[in-house]
Amino acid sequence: MTPARFLKTRTSAWDRLEALIKKASPRGVRALTDSELRELTLLYPAVAVDVARARMYKIDPNTQNRINQLAISAHGLLYRRKSVKSIQVILTFFRDTYPRLFRRLWPYTALAIAVFTIGFIGAYISTVLTPSNAYLFVPGQLDLTDNESGLSSKDISERFRLIPKPPMAAGIMANNISVAFNAFALGITAGIGTCYIIIYNAMMLGGFAAHFSNHNLAYDFWSFIIPHGILEIFAILVSAAAGLKLGLSFAIPGRLKRSASLRIGAHDSVLLVIGTVPMFVVAGLIESVITPSYIPGFVKIALGVTLASLTIGYLILAGRRPVGHGQTYKLNVPEN
């Protein structure tokens, strides 16, 4: 076969592939009909081989480039992972995948909780010993000693009651999920950024808690924080755990190449963050509806503790069924 003949016989295939790619370009292969898709799967390998043949025949660089580009585009269309769309996949994710993932990565959650505890206790003790330290962690306007202009804990609840609930819930959820996403993303700094977010939040909470406790308002404070706070802080710490996993896989690659380790770490941990979103939705609803309500404090605390226990129980216990009969993946071999 001469180059001229090669071009002559193959050009129509390239034109056809180009047309198919153009059609599929905006939305992927979904835009194609069944027969077009079949055509694409047949055309692609042939054109991929044409790339090599064009190189062999040394045909002009423009045409070589065109074929190469066509093959690349078709390759991008055909070789992709199965797309996640059905409700079933989401159900499976929360029923099995997510709790399993949480358990597999629990050391990172433990690490996040440890860092948080250290920050919290540090700020708490320092504020109890030196009450003026509170203003390192607490905005100045929250001066509990001055009852004339300052706000007591009851005033805080009062103020929250004034805010209309739907936008408050939306705002709280959006804010918390953003914090969680940032805690994950900042993990790329070898985990330092994530630790900063954990410690910042821990010290603020510790400072607040000690400040209220110094003014004998501990009960009011905790009945205000615990209903939504346990779940919320836990979810943030799980996201931070994902960030730590990301950062440590980059900082300590072990036997892998650093880039490969980072890639694996990121793919391992990203779902841990995504799965915290429902926790934030629940926590946001409680924070905007139940926390500022007139329900007695101890009931609110009990509710918060119960909810957090349920969540953690779910993470520890769900998805433990052994993979038995009917659970293994079956190959879908068409029976002729």
Binding site: R27, N65, Y79, R80, A170, A185, S259
Partner: protein, 271 residues
């Protein structure tokens, strides 16, 4: 930083991807962010039209306003975190800005981008965006495959889908004819066989990349059988003479081609 990246397909063919440069990615990002800003402006205008004061919760009186504000907060959140995710999901790795610049996100190993990778590269965007995307710029500059942090973690690269025009690399005036375009008429005018013509044509296109020594070694070897067939002797001919001879042949072929095209056009016009 490199321009090209080779991937090997399951068909055992090495395909060459053109990596998108920092410039085109920056413009794509700029366009996307302008679009995001536009969406926020529309959102704010909507609030203004509805008369909702977002700075104070006292401005809200009716239940409807409350829900409108809640939905708007939700939408703003969705735009911030979801714009790129949504578009890259729906269009196989092309946000509107990337589409305009004809670039696309693909997996490092080839193939369309996976959902996990979309999530990773766009969650890490907040870090890449630090200092007006300075972090991304520096990372792209120092990595081999023009990847920002999000790409490194997600295992993705951004490729250019524009088919580059390499014809500009040749001197257009002196460029003769493509292999496929050589017609029998043109061949007749030169008196060459097709493979002889191709050989000389290739030499002609590349001669400026060769040293004079190399040219004076190669050309006599190439021309000898041709000249012998035509009954001429090669001995004692200078390089200049031989190259002029080749140029003459190329000119003949080009002129014959032109002549034929014009005739074809004329007859076409007459019809």
């Amino acid at each position: 930083m490199q321009d090209f990246d080779l991937i090997e397909t399951p068909e055992n063919v090495k395909l060459q991807r053109r990596l998108a440069g920092i410039g085109s990615r920056f413009i794509a990002g700029l366009l996307d962010n302008l679009l995001i800003a536009l969406m926020y402006i529309v959102l704010l205008l909507l609030l203004l039209i509805l008369g909702i004061n977002i700075l104070s919760h006292m401005g809200i009186s009716t239940a409807l306003e409350m829900w409108v504000l809640a939905i708007m907060i939700f939408v703003a959140f969705l735009i911030y975190w979801g714009y790129f995710v949504l578009f890259e999901m729906l269009t196989n790795g092309q946000s509107p800005g990337k589409k305009y610049m004809k670039i696309r996100v693909v997996m490092l190993e080839g193939g369309g981008i996976s959902l996990n990778s979309i999530a990773i590269r766009n969650l890490l965007r907040v870090v890449d965006a630090i200092g007006l995307y300075a972090v991304a710029g520096i990372t792209m500059f120092v990595t081999h495959k023009v990847q920002r942090l999000g790409d490194l973690a997600a295992g993705t690269v951004v490729i250019s889908e524009e088919i580059p025009d390499y014809s500009a690399r040749y001197d257009k005036k002196k460029r003769v004819l493509d292999d496929e375009a050589i017609t029998s008429t043109a061949l007749e005018a030169t008196g060459l066989k097709p493979e002889e013509y191709r050989l000389l044509h290739n030499y002609w296109l590349r001669r400026e990349q060769l040293t004079i020594e190399a040219r004076s070694q190669i050309l006599p070897k190439l021309l000898q059988p041709i000249l012998v067939r035509m009954g001429q002797s090669i001995s004692g001919k200078s390089l200049t003479f031989l190259e002029e001879y080749v140029e003459g042949l190329m000119d003949k072929a080009r002129n014959a081609e032109k002549e034929m095209k014009r005739e074809a056009n004329d007859s076409g016009a007459k019809k």
